[in-house]
Symmetry: C2
Subunit: 187 residues, 2 copies
């Protein structure tokens, strides 16, 4: 993560948790754009200077929270075949990421991220999930492309459109990308 090398279990951890929770609550109550450091601090029961010292500014805090929020909380579903696994994952990915909240999180993760490590983490999450799906397929004896190929030709186009052309995105598009990569009749 960006700069949280907190001592686990101590006061630092409590502050971090309470600040993150405050961001969540306030973001859903009054909208992400209404957030300010003093507001978050008050809700978290903390002084603003604490937030400024630990995170630097609002953007870095939001970036941190966004990455945490973008971490998949569950392994990809199993549907028996590679095409169905990958299609289901791509549809869910698109669904989650293209929502207004999802786009906001992605943008926040990209932002306030001088060294690019937060954005890199997001990409790593996706790569992990895809790797699970492909490894499963290989173990079943299916022929599977490698992770980089899936990222280039499924994840990247989805993300590109989410960020740059939010209009006209639907599950059918995600399915087409998967089909194109696996070959119309499987790889």
């Amino acid at each position: 993560m960006s700069r949280q090398m907190v001592r686990p279990g101590g006061r630092s951890a409590r502050v971090q948790a309470s600040v993150h929770a405050a961001v969540h609550e306030l973001a859903s109550e009054m909208g992400r754009d209404a957030l300010t450091v003093p507001l978050v601090a008050q809700r978290a029961g903390v002084t603003p200077s604490t937030i400024y010292r630990r995170w630097g500014d609002l953007q870095e805090l939001l970036s941190d929270v966004a990455v945490e929020r973008l971490r998949p909380d569950t392994a990809p579903g199993e549907h028996g075949t590679l095409p169905s696994d990958l299609t289901a994952w791509a549809e869910q990915f698109l669904d989650e990421m293209s929502s207004p909240a999802g786009r906001a999180y992605i943008r926040d993760a990209l932002l306030g991220d001088p060294d690019g490590s937060n954005a890199g983490q997001c990409s790593a999450y996706a790569a992990e999930q895809i790797d699970v799906i492909l490894t499963r397929a290989t173990e079943r004896g299916e022929k599977a492309p490698d992770v980089e190929t899936v990222i280039d030709h499924v994840v990247a186009p989805l993300m590109y459109r989410i960020l740059f052309r939010p209009a006209g995105l639907d599950a059918e598009y995600a399915r087409r990308l998967v089909t194109a990569i696996l070959g119309p009749a499987g790889p």
Copy 2:
């Protein structure tokens, strides 16, 4: 563009030009991160409230400037064949966009862009350039993929890596993407 429906030639236009110029100058003199609204206003010979009223905040201003800066200023080069035209364009695109300045502009364009219109404009620029290349190829009698395909499988992977995985990007990667889409021996 985002909110600039200025009367051309009037005072508004002068203010816009001078503010944009001030952003350029200050960004190169003291670094993009050192910019503040009052600073830009002073350099532009304008009061801060003018900037706040017209652009809302620094992010939206930077987003506007970034889009202007990302507009291609020249038509894609002609090299005689589709593969060479597209390869050259992709290499140049990667080169410009993956530089620190390029990444900063892309991020700025994505940011402060509530409705996504600035980001959409960036995508439209790329689509335009690609369309020129593909149309030329078609007129020469070459078989060419459509713009959407090139965006999905060349532009999107490049942009994804620029934003999310800045490491390990080189011209060879751009060439591979183009080759993959045109077919190893041409389409």
